[in-house]
């Protein structure tokens, strides 16, 4: 017993040096934990700052300064043909003098000075209301009509100093107000921030993404399947693999130059069209899909392939019945990363002419269009005060679109997810 208690006989795991080391190990663990927690806190703070500043600025972008104008239709003789399309009805109302009727009503209600600050396109709001429901033409009705760009600036406290007292007075009388503007989501780009909308750019983005997905997804998945399942492992496939990895890292503006040099040379008539934009972005997205697809395919256990081969499945049946369904969640994750990158891309589209001012939403894949990040870029370049808020609102629309796309991908991934 006495021998055991001598210090020389202490087991190596009970020496003071060991215990000191143990303390150090725990301290290292704690340091790591706190470092990790502070990293998470920093990223959450940055995200919150981004979202809060975006939301506060952006909400103003969904609003516009509007004047209240009561229009009395009883003295007018406007007629409407309900069988016509909305645009034709609006044109017909313009021909019947609706702009003058609205201007007159504004003069009556607001006085000469304020009526001059009614937006020149304000009558279109009235025309749309009539086209939607001809019954508004019976009697007198209040309309909230867009103010001019200058009056809107004055209401928010800058712009022409001379207009600011008028804006304050009108606001105090309840005749001028910042009102929610649902039309922002329905209109397209305009030189007047009061009339600008995001729909054209949003539709351009949707069309471009459809082209990108339709090209990049099948080509990327097929390339990944071929490289993983069929291609012999030799020097050539190694070179291809390295090239694809490098392609994913090429700066996006290079792809824009490629699109300019190749696609616009082949199809010169489709400058600024979603089809060319989508093709250019597909070049950029495809390597991302190939790389993530290969990793997902590699992760499918070989025992599943063996099992299918052993009951006499051909290689293509193994690939499409077993490997692809199991790899699909991973492929979708990679696809969404690539698509999200493509959605936010501006540089390559600059080069193929998608920075044009487009005031009508594109009707199809071959019409002139712009995309959301390009619209943000164009608006952020404007010096007009009203466009600052519109820019923030456009950013919110872009982020919401991105979230929607990610949500869809997560939903699809969970649907296809299977465990083995």
């Amino acid at each position: 017993m006495s021998e055991r208690s001598t210090p020389a006989k202490l087991a190596p795991t009970r020496t003071p040096a060991f215990e000191a080391r143990l303390k150090k190990r725990y301290a290292a663990e704690m340091r790591f934990k706190y470092a990790g927690m502070s990293a998470v806190l920093v990223s959450v703070a940055v995200l919150l700052f981004l979202l809060v500043s975006m939301a506060t600025d952006g909400i103003a972008g969904f609003q516009r300064a509007e004047l209240r104008v009561p229009v009395d239709f009883s003295a007018t003789s406007l007629s409407i043909n309900p069988s016509l399309a909305e645009n034709a009805q609006i044109r017909s109302l313009e021909g019947q003098g609706l702009p003058d009727i609205v201007a007159f009503a504004a003069q009556q209600a607001l006085g000469e000075e304020a009526a001059n600050e009614l937006n020149s396109e304000a009558w279109r709001t009235v025309a749309s209301a009539i086209a939607a429901d001809p019954a508004v033409m019976s009697g007198k009705r209040d309309f909230w009509l867009p103010a001019s760009e200058d009056l809107a600036s004055a209401l928010s406290g800058d712009g022409k100093a001379a207009l600011q007292p008028l804006a304050q007075q009108l606001a105090a009388n309840g005749k001028l107000d910042e009102r929610f503007d649902p039309g922002f989501m329905l209109r397209s780009d305009a030189t007047d921030p009061q009339l600008a909308g995001i729909w054209g750019a949003l539709k351009g983005s949707i069309l471009t993404m459809v082209v990108t997905l339709a090209l990049a997804f099948p080509i990327g998945v097929l390339a990944a399947l071929y490289l993983e399942e069929y291609a012999p492992k030799n020097r050539w496939t190694e070179i291809i693999e390295v090239s694809i990895n490098n392609l994913a890292a090429v700066p996006s503006i290079i792809f824009g130059l490629l699109g300019l040099a190749v696609f616009l040379t082949l199809f010169p008539n489709f400058r600024s069209a979603p089809i060319i934009g989508g093709m250019t972005l597909a070049l950029m997205t495809m390597p991302v899909i190939v790389i993530s697809g290969r990793n997902a395919i590699k992760a499918v256990p070989p025992s599943i392939r063996d099992g299918a081969l052993a009951i006499g499945a051909s290689r293509i049946q193994v690939v499409f019945d077993h490997v692809l369904p199991l790899a699909l969640p991973g492929i979708l994750t990679g696809t969404i990363i690539g698509m999200a990158r493509a959605l936010g891309e501006t540089a390559p589209l600059l080069l193929i002419g998608m920075r044009a001012f487009v005031s009508t939403p594109p009707g199809g894949f071959t019409d002139n269009a712009t995309v959301l990040p390009m619209q943000i870029f164009l608006w952020s370049d404007e010096i007009d005060r009203g466009f600052v808020e519109r820019t923030s609102a456009a950013i919110i629309v872009l982020l919401a679109f991105l979230l929607l796309m990610n949500g869809l991908a997560i939903y699809l991934r969970n649907r296809f997810e299977k465990r083995w």
Binding site: S303, D306, G307, A310, I311, G312, A313, K418, R419, W420
Partner: protein
Amino acid sequence: MLDNPQDTAPAFAGAAAEPQPEEASAPKMSARDVCVYYGDKQAIDHVSIDVHTEHVTAFIGPSGCGKSTFLRSMNRMNDTIPSARVTGTIELDGEDIHSSGMDVVQLRARVGMVFQKPNPFPKSIFDNIAYGPRIHGLAESKGEIEAIVEKSLRRAGLWDEVKDRLADSGTALSGGQQQRLCIARAIAVDPEVILMDEPCSALDPIATAKIEELIDELKGRYAIVIVTHSMQQAARVSQRTAFFHLGKVVEYGHTSDIFTNPREVRTKDYITGRYG
């Protein structure tokens, strides 16, 4: 893998008592001078073995001796390994499986395989079984497929356990059930030979006993080849045993002879646990 102590002593007697349809019938599969190479490395060295219908043939031997490699060359599963190369002839019903007239897909439908680790597809139990018959067009209607699924599961002794949950995932079953599901999957395409690569090595003794029972029942219909590390298992289930060592077949003969009266010293040393 000592399972039931009572099994060890009289194990050979059971196998020996089996009626042995001697060389009356032609062999189902016959390998002659088969060599398998992985790149420059020779894994199998001039192996010649006959496999008969209504027989269970066991391959025993220490790890790395080439049993599984040889088994995998019997239905050309080695084709999936780019560096693998097979020489010599392997015949199925007298036809060379490497000849141009033999399609590899058809060969694997005729020579099924069960793997060491249960590998059910991550699909429903029903689809696991139905997949083979579907791709081979063995059934026209849904009713026929259902009949095949039921028959296969019954033969694999799994029907009563899963008949109420055929829509559940095959991966949700226990290990032993998964392995029987894989056997049912193999027999659903009505093969002539079933190759089993250590089918019980991942299973507990009770599940192992069930699989062995199943092998015993199935041998009336198919030629079965089983690779095993368990001497007792080889003795219990097989009629013929081949002892592999360093890529060569040291001894091949009736199981009863191999275990009670081995000709070679190495066989004797191995089965008595001297090495391996």
